[in-house]
């Protein structure tokens, strides 16, 4: 097998592992399963994420019209594997106030040191909650939100996972009728988020 296809196969295996670990385990691609990917091989992944930098509605990879979920740094809702907010450009974790935080959740200043209050004491770790199940729920008053469907696109040479935040609401965040998208169980796409996997494509 040519080296390029071997590399694609390894990428497909890593992608399959990440799919199995991710919160969208029951997603459409998750249901197809890592086994299907293993059978189809790297070429299937390569075909699915062919580097065409899909036509973007408001961010790369998003070819439909549903708006982004509310997030600390709108208009984009960039998340990590578990749905917590990340800085849209740097990809670093941010708290609910939009501040870069370290691994323990402490907000950092511009020098990378923990932020201190006017009394000189380090600020306690601030809130950091999930974009779909917490942010969107509280801001939009929907109690049935769940991260469900996902699809993958190649953006900037890296695989991007676009994730649906799904609700039984028949109205989406745009205000008009919602679409089924990759949601299941009667839910429809309320808003969208994305996770940059870092895998090359």
């Amino acid at each position: 097998m040519p080296p390029r296809e071997q590399a694609l196969d390894r990428s497909a295996e890593r992608l399959a592992s990440k799919l199995a670990e991710s919160t969208t385990r029951k997603s459409f691609l998750g249901r197809v399963g890592a086994a299907a990917l293993a059978v189809a091989g790297g070429s299937a992944v390569a075909a699915a994420v062919k580097p065409d930098d899909a036509d973007a509605f408001h961010f790369c990879g998003h070819i439909w019209t549903t708006g982004s979920c509310p997030s600390p740094l709108p208009p984009l809702a960039r998340i990590d594997r578990k749905g917590f907010p990340l800085h849209p450009s740097s990809g670093r974790p941010i708290d609910n106030l939009g501040r870069i935080v370290d691994s323990a959740g402490y907000a950092l200043n511009g020098n990378g040191n923990r932020l201190r209050g006017p009394d000189g004491a380090v600020l306690p770790p601030a809130l950091r909650t999930r974009v779909c199940e917490d942010w969107t729920r509280e801001q939009k008053g929907l109690r049935d939100l769940a991260t469900q469907g996902a699809w993958f696109r190649c953006c900037g040479g890296r695989i991007r996972k676009l994730v649906d935040c799904c609700s039984f609401s028949r109205r989406r965040i745009n205000g008009d009728a919602s679409l089924t998208g990759y949601c299941w169980g009667g839910r429809r796409v309320y808003c969208v988020m994305y996770y940059d996997t870092g895998l090359p494509c």
Binding site: P72, N96, L97, G110, R116, P118, D119, A126, L127
Partner: protein
């Protein structure tokens, strides 16, 4: 400009209308963009610093327009590029003329009002509002292109009649600027925040007396009619009538603030964040694996634990007033502001959020104030100890500044505002 947008210059009546329409759109858009930029700049500067400057400029401008002062104005005494009409297509030059005049900076101003409007937009510090206001300036520019033509067969005659009223217009302009100056100057007293202490935080207010901590490590007490009193090496003050509680190196000290007589002490270095309602003091105590709010009788010595949370939870400075205790808790998943009567275990959630940080409550009679921090905006909220809707006393749009601790009195709230980058803090008073 009026004689530029004629059928002869434009080529036909239809092209004249197109040119006027493009000019209008460009003038309004450019003016709105200017307003937006000024509002953003004002936001970044902090509005309260600019309001009084804008007021002063408006009053100076009023004096200038009334002929009392001679003040030069920043001017670009230029005409629009005439050669554009002959070198560029009609859609381009008419749009360009509109954008140039709508932006305001590239043209002559006979009066100072435009510059005062710029100062006002900075002081307003609200980009969208400023954009909407400035778009009216652009619309006015466009109106002068269309209005005279509708008024008379010879539009230049209409313009000449208007210029004949110049004196009255200047007087009206001066009065308007005077009114703006007065309104801007009064704005802080009319409900806006007034800074009462610089390099200070943790205010405590009771019966007309204000105490606060300074960033140099002291506690200051300010009472009407007496010089301020300083307690060195002290922090986290709490007032109740003639008594003051504060944190020193040995725990919490309670004194008569007028003469410094010690009346009580919590000799525990893990005790902090006192709240005082004489003769009871509430404070946060760090125990092994937990944080607790304890209420102690200063004279009799008895105490009771009212709140207990695990050590990882942020337990904020309590407030003790009218037999009630208020506090906040915050984890990485949720923040809450709580209130409970001292005589009961029934705590009520006043505010909670999984996305905003609600914190630092203060009580006064049946009212409660707290801060609410969100991404890019913070609020000072005023509510009730009983279930009733709360409202925003203040809103601060900033990523570089935030609220800290609060205290509440009758018809006034005090809050700490601080700058994240430098840690510099100041105390502001807001009336309601």
């Amino acid at each position: 400009m009026l004689e530029t947008f004629t059928p002869a210059v434009c080529g036909s009546r239809k092209r004249q209308i197109v040119a006027q329409a493009l000019f209008t759109v460009a003038a309004v858009a450019a003016a709105a963009a200017l307003g937006l930029a000024l509002g953003l700049a004002g936001n970044a500067l902090g509005a309260e610093r600019a309001v009084l400057v804008a007021a002063a400029l408006a009053l100076l401008a009023a004096a200038r327009e009334a002929g009392l002062l001679r003040l030069p104005l920043p001017q670009a005494r230029r005409q629009v590029p005439e050669h554009w009409r002959s070198e560029l297509p009609l859609p381009v030059w008419s749009t360009g003329y509109g954008a140039g005049l709508g932006a305001g900076f590239f043209t002559f101003h006979p009066v100072s009002t435009f510059w005062i409007a710029c100062a006002g937009a900075l002081a307003l510090a609200s980009p969208v509002t400023a954009a909407l206001c400035f778009s009216l300036y652009g619309a006015g520019r466009a109106l002068m292109l269309v209005w005279p033509r509708g008024r008379a067969a010879d539009p230049t005659a209409a313009v000449e009649r208007l210029t004949g009223k110049r004196g009255a217009l200047l007087r009206a302009n001066a009065l308007a600027l005077l009114a703006c100056g007065v309104l801007l100057a009064l704005a802080p007293a009319a409900g806006g925040a007034v800074r009462v202490a610089q390099n200070a935080y943790d205010p405590s207010f009771h019966a007309g007396t204000l105490a606060f901590a300074t960033q140099s490590g002291d506690v200051v007490v300010r009472a009407p009619g007496v010089p301020q009193i300083v307690y060195p090496n002290a922090s986290q003050p709490a007032l109740s009538g003639q008594y003051l509680a504060y944190v020193d190196g040995a725990g919490i000290r309670v004194v008569r603030w007028a003469d410094g007589t010690e009346v009580g002490r919590v000799a525990n270095t893990t005790a902090s964040r006192p709240a005082l309602e004489w003769p009871k003091v509430a404070f946060v105590r760090r125990d092994a694996g937990a944080k607790r709010i304890v209420v102690r009788h200063v004279i009799k010595g008895g105490h009771k634990i009212h709140v207990s949370v695990s050590a990882g939870v942020d337990l904020g400075r309590p407030s003790l007033r009218s037999g009630r205790l208020a506090w906040h808790t915050a984890t990485r998943r949720e923040s809450r502001v709580m209130v409970k009567p001292l005589t009961s275990n029934a705590a009520r959630i006043v505010a909670r959020s999984k996305i905003a940080l609600v914190s630092n409550p203060s009580l006064h009679l049946s009212r409660i104030v707290w801060t609410e921090a969100r991404s890019g905006v913070s609020y000072l909220r005023l509510g009730w100890v009983v279930p009733r809707p709360a409202r925003a006393l203040e809103r601060m749009r900033s990523r570089t500044r935030a609220y800290w601790t609060t205290t509440l009195g009758s018809g006034r709230a005090f809050s700490t505002r601080w700058t994240l980058a430098s840690g510099a803090a100041a105390i502001y008073r807001t009336t309601f």
